[in-house]
C-alpha cells in the first residue's frame, strides 16, 4: 500500500449511503447494513446516557456514608437499572451492532450482510426489548440486581421483575439474529481472494463473538422464562420451598453471562488489533495467534462460569475445577496483549486519538485482567467476593474494554462513516479525560473492596468516605469525558473537514471505497490479493489529518 491521495477530499461526488433517501421511511425500513449500524448507534447512545444517569445518582448517594440521598429500596433500583441497561443495551451491542454491522461487509468486500432484512429485524427486536425495559423503569423499576438472582427475583421481589426480564429476553433475540447474520456472512460473502487468514482481525473477533451469541444467549432466554414461570405460576424450579434449586439459576445464568463478558470485549479487541497496526505502520505481530486466540476465548469462556459461585454453596469440588480452569482463560487474552505490544515494538507510532484509546485499552485491560486472576483464586475470592473489588474488576474489564475499543473505533472509522474528520485536539483531550476519570472512579473501588466495603450497599462506615468521594469525583470527570465526544462528533457532522476515502492511509478494504461509502459499498467487488495489514514498515504516518485541518484546508462544501 503506497500513497493514497488524501489531499483532495471529495464528498458527495457520488451519491452515498447517507444521501440515498432522506425520508424517515428510508431509514426505518432500510436494509442497508450501514444505515442499520447508525440506527443502532443512536439507540445505544441513548441507552448509554440513561444508564449513565443512574450511575450519577449512585455516585451522588455514595458521597456520604449515611446513604441519605435516597431510600434503600430506591438505591437497589438504581444499581439494578444501571446494570441492566448498561450490560444488555450498551456493552453487549455496542461494538458488534454498530461497528460490526457497519464494517464487516466493507472489510470482507461484500455489498451487505447475508440477511439484510433479518439485520433490520434485529434492530426492531432490540428496540422492542428496550421499550419493555424502559416500561419497567417508568413503572417503578426493578430491584433484583442485573443478575436477577433467585429466589429473590422469582418469589420475593415486589418490583416489575417480569417486565424487565422480558425486555432482556427479547433483546437476547436481537443478539442471536446479529450473531447468525455475521457467521453466515463471513462464511458465504467474502470477496474473491479474501481467504480466512486474510480476514481482518476485527472480523475474526466478531465471528468469535457471534459464536458465543448463538451458543450462549438461548440459555439466558430459557433461564429468564423459567424465572417468569416460577414467579407467575409458582412452579418450583429455583425456589427451595417449592422443591427447586436456587443454584440452578446461577449455573444457567452464568453459563451465558460469563461468556457475555467476551461478547463485550472480543469485538473491542478486534478494534484494537486494527488500530494498533495502522498507527504503528506495521503488520500485526503474530496474525494467526491473534485470530485463533479469539476463537479460543470464545470456546474457553464457556468452561469457567462457576467462578461466580465460589461462595454460593456450589460444591468445593466444582469450585476447585472452575478456579483451575479460570486461570487458563488468561492465556489467549495475554496472547493478544503481548502481540499488540510486539506490534508496537519498532513501529513508527503516531499518537492520534484512536491510538490513545489503544493505550487506554491495554492499560485498563491489563489491570482488569490481572485482578481477575485474584478473583479466580478460591481463597482470595472468599475475602473479596461481593465487595467493591469485584465492582472495580468488572468495570475495568467490561466498561474499560468496551468504552476504549468502542470510542477508539468510532473515532478511527468516523471519517468512513460520515465522510468528516472529528477535531483531533478536542478528541485527544476527551480521550485523556476519560482515561483519568475512569481510573479515578474505579481504582479506589479496588481499595474499598479489599478493605471490606460490600457492593450494593449505600450506607457505609465513615472511614470509607475518602475513597468513595474520590470515586465520585472521578465519575464526574468521566462524565465530562463522555459528553465531549457527543458534542464534537455532532459538530463535525457539519463543520468537520472532509475526510477523503482514506485519511489514515490504512490498508483495509473498507478504506478503498469512498467516504461515506456508496449504498452498494464498492463500485466493483474488489479482488483481494493481500491481507489487511500490508503496511510497509517504517513508512511513517503519511499526513496528519490534524495538520490538514489546521492549514485551514477548508473542506469541500456540499449541499
Amino acid at each position: 500500500m503506497t500513497t493514497i491521495p488524501i489531499d483532495e477530499p471529495r464528498i458527495e461526488q457520488h451519491s452515498n449511503y447517507l444521501t440515498n433517501g432522506y425520508s424517515v421511511k428510508s431509514w426505518l425500513l432500510t436494509t442497508d447494513h450501514k444505515r442499520i449500524a447508525l440506527l443502532y448507534l443512536i439507540t445505544i447512545t441513548l441507552f448509554f446516557f440513561l444508564g449513565g444517569a443512574f450511575a450519577v445518582l449512585i455516585r451522588l448517594d455514595l458521597m456520604t456514608p449515611a446513604g441519605d440521598l435516597m431510600r434503600d429500596e430506591t438505591y437497589n433500583k438504581m444499581f439494578t437499572m444501571h446494570g441492566i441497561i448498561m450490560v444488555f443495551f450498551f456493552l453487549i451491542p455496542a461494538v458488534p451492532a454498530v461497528l460490526g454491522n457497519f464494517l464487516i461487509p466493507l472489510m470482507i468486500g461484500a455489498r451487505d450482510l447475508a440477511f439484510p432484512r433479518i439485520n433490520l429485524l434485529s434492530w426492531y427486536v432490540f428496540v422492542i426489548g428496550g421499550l419493555f425495559t424502559l416500561a419497567s423503569v417508568a413503572s417503578g423499576g426493578v430491584d433484583t440486581g442485573w443478575t436477577f438472582y433467585t429466589p429473590y427475583s422469582s418469589t420475593y421481589a415486589n418490583t416489575h421483575v417480569v417486565l424487565a426480564a422480558l425486555g432482556v429476553f427479547i433483546t437476547g433475540f436481537s443478539s442471536i439474529l446479529t450473531g447468525l447474520n455475521f457467521i453466515v456472512t463471513v462464511h458465504t460473502m467474502r470477496a474473491p481472494g479474501m481467504t480466512w487468514f486474510r480476514l481482518p482481525l476485527f472480523v475474526w473477533a466478531n465471528y468469535a463473538t457471534s459464536l458465543i451469541m448463538i451458543l450462549g444467549t438461548p440459555v439466558l432466554a430459557v433461564t429468564i422464562v423459567l424465572v417468569a414461570i416460577e414467579r407467575i405460576f409458582g412452579v418450583g424450579i429455583f425456589d427451595p420451598k417449592l422443591g427447586g434449586d436456587p443454584l440452578l439459576f446461577q449455573h444457567l445464568f452464568w453459563f451465558y453471562s460469563h461468556p457475555a463478558v467476551y461478547i463485550m470485549i472480543l469485538p473491542s479487541m478486534g478494534v484494537i488489533s486494527e488500530l494498533v497496526t495502522c498507527f504503528s505502520r506495521k503488520r500485526i505481530f503474530g496474525y494467526g495467534f491473534v485470530a485463533v486466540s479469539s476463537l479460543l476465548i470464545a470456546v474457553y469462556g464457556f468452561l469457567v462460569w462457576g467462578h461466580h459461585m465460589f461462595v454460593s454453596g456450589q460444591s468445593v469440588y466444582a469450585g476447585m475445577i472452575f478456579s483451575f480452569l479460570s486461570f487458563f482463560v488468561a492465556i489467549p487474552s495475554a496472547i493478544k496483549v503481548f502481540n499488540w505490544t510486539a506490534t508496537l515494538y519498532k513501529g513508527s507510532i503516531s499518537y492520534q486519538t484512536p491510538m490513545l484509546y489503544v493505550f487506554g485499552f491495554i492499560g485498563l485491560f491489563a489491570i482488569g485482567g490481572l485482578t481477575g486472576l485474584f478473583l479466580a483464586t478460591l481463597a482470595v475470592d472468599v475475602h473479596v467476593h461481593d465487595t467493591y473489588f469485584i465492582v472495580a474488576h468488572f468495570h475495568y474489564i467490561m466498561v474499560g474494554g468496551v468504552v476504549m475499543g468502542y470510542l477508539g473505533g468510532i473515532h478511527f472509522w468516523w471519517p468512513k462513516i460520515t465522510g468528516r474528520m472529528y477535531p483531533e485536539g478536542w478528541a485527544k483531550l476527551a480521550a485523556l479525560i476519560i482515561f483519568v476519570g475512569f481510573n479515578l472512579t474505579f481504582f479506589p473501588q479496588f481499595l474499598l473492596g479489599y478493605l471490606g466495603m460490600p457492593r450494593r450497599y449505600h450506607v457505609y462506615p465513615e472511614e470509607f468516605q475518602i475513597l468513595n468521594v474520590m470515586s465520585s469525583a472521578g465519575a464526574s470527570i468521566l462524565g465530562v469525558g463522555y459528553l465531549l465526544p457527543l458534542v464534537y462528533l455532532f459538530w463535525s457532522l457539519r463543520w468537520g473537514p472532509a475526510a477523503g476515502p482514506n485519511p489514515w492511509a490504512a490498508a483495509g478494504l473498507e478504506w478503498q471505497t469512498s467516504s461515506p461509502p456508496p449504498t452498494e459499498n464498492f463500485e466493483k467487488i474488489p479482488i483481494v490479493t493481500q491481507e489487511a495489514y500490508a503496511y510497509s514498515e517504517g513508512s511513517g504516518f503519511p499526513v496528519s489529518p490534524e495538520a490538514d485541518y489546521k492549514e485551514g484546508g477548508s473542506p469541500v462544501v456540499h449541499s
Partner: protein
Amino acid sequence: MTAHDEHSISTRTYFLVFTALLVLTGVTVVAAFFNFGHLNDIIALVIAGTKATLVILFFMHVWHASGLTRVFVLSGFAWLALLMAFTFADLFTRWQVEAAG
C-alpha cells in the same frame, strides 16, 4: 441453491416422518399408563429425543445438509452437554460441602 434442490426431501418422506411422530406420541401416551419405576424418565426422554432427532434430520433438512451445517448443529448439542456436565459436576459433589461444614 441447486444442490439443495437435488436433495430436497420427497413428500413421501415427510409423511413417513409425520406418521412416525404420531406413533411415538401414541407410545408416550401408552407408556404413561405403566409404571417402570426409575425407567419412567428414561423412557420418556428416549422417545422425546427420537422425535426431536427426526424433526431435526428431516423437517429441518439436516440429513442432506453440508458438513459445516452439521458441525453447527452438533455444536449446539455439545454446548448443551457442557452445560449439563458442569452443572451436575456441582450437584453430585455437594456432599463435600456438608462434610466440610
